[in-house]
Symmetry: C2
Subunit: 191 residues, 2 copies
């Protein structure tokens, strides 16, 4: 007996999918040490452990040949002048790609390779992004009031390596200053 095909809907513009096998919530406390302005971070956290983003996962066997997918929802907001963002990660099997389809909101995908190449792609509804094998990736929501919603698909055997980013950070950050939204070098990045 083979696995049965299955379907679900992502309403236009997409938010919560009609099927989710797992719902992940990431709060301010889950991104300890990741935001540049640690004073602002600690002040915010002392008031409320704010929900930064959510992921609705579609579960499948985590093996080669399968595809893992889901919806990522990054909420609007800032820590100091830095926008809310996901933890970001490399794949455990580095040579695996990922594709994103932006359904709602505005933001950026911040990407980098282990060798230090960086790439920032603006996201808006209708945009498809191909993250090739080897690129760590983090979503950043720059909408004032709207969630950044993306549908993602990656190979079943990819795995997640969060540790490298937690330890070193990303080389680039997305902040807002008097000139508007700006991509800056991360002064705390550990080579």
């Amino acid at each position: 007996m083979s696995d049965q095909p299955f379907s679900f809907t992502i309403p236009f513009p997409g938010f919560k999918p009609s099927r989710a096998d797992n719902h992940i919530e990431r709060h301010l406390s889950d991104l300890r040490g990741q935001f540049l302005d640690q004073h602002a971070y600690k002040t915010m956290l002392s008031e409320e452990d704010t929900l930064l983003y959510e992921v609705y996962e579609i579960k499948r066997p985590e093996i080669e040949g399968e595809l893992l997918s889901g919806i990522s929802i990054v909420h609007p907001g800032k820590v100091g002048n830095e926008f809310f963002m996901t933890k970001g990660h490399f794949h455990t099997i580095l040579e695996t790609a990922e594709m994103y389809y932006c359904l709602n909101g505005e933001g950026f995908m911040v990407m980098e390779t282990p060798e230090g190449e960086t790439f920032i792609e603006a996201l808006s509804p209708g945009k498809v992004l191909y993250v090739p094998p080897r690129w760590a990736h983090r979503s950043v929501c720059t909408s004032r009031q709207e969630d950044l919603v993306t549908f993602f698909i990656y190979p079943g055997n990819s795995g997640h390596n969060y540790g490298t980013i937690e330890e070193k950070g990303f080389r680039k950050l997305v902040v807002e200053n008097e000139k508007g939204i700006e991509i800056i070098d991360n002064p705390k990045f550990k080579e």
Copy 2:
């Protein structure tokens, strides 16, 4: 030097993508022997080799860890009482999945396994379909005037096996009769 990330847009509701590395057109003559009513087929073909569907492919290396994707556009129409459809195929590496996101139109995905299980899923905008490993799949457009448009993603090493379907056909067909749209057994299916 790693491959650079890249992006493109699929406007809502999606049609032709802003990027395509390859454009495939399949005409009536490419589906010789696949439609049930061969008299209607030959009459139509003698008048014009009608365009049935188009695929805009995003090219990537056809290896494990990569993802292949594109847009499939099946045009509205019928051969006799059978709706326009794609050739349909198994993957050469049978144990590889595929995901579809329906962007426009109405139709069905007709699926079957080598062991003879069948599954028919209705497609409409916003629906995501998971085709598990082992399932052959064919898109059928049942809209009167609109294209059935889907965005598809599958593992880079999947490959296409069209031969099995060309030889045996699918077990199920999508036709229109006095009762409306109907799924029927294919009387010409070769076990």
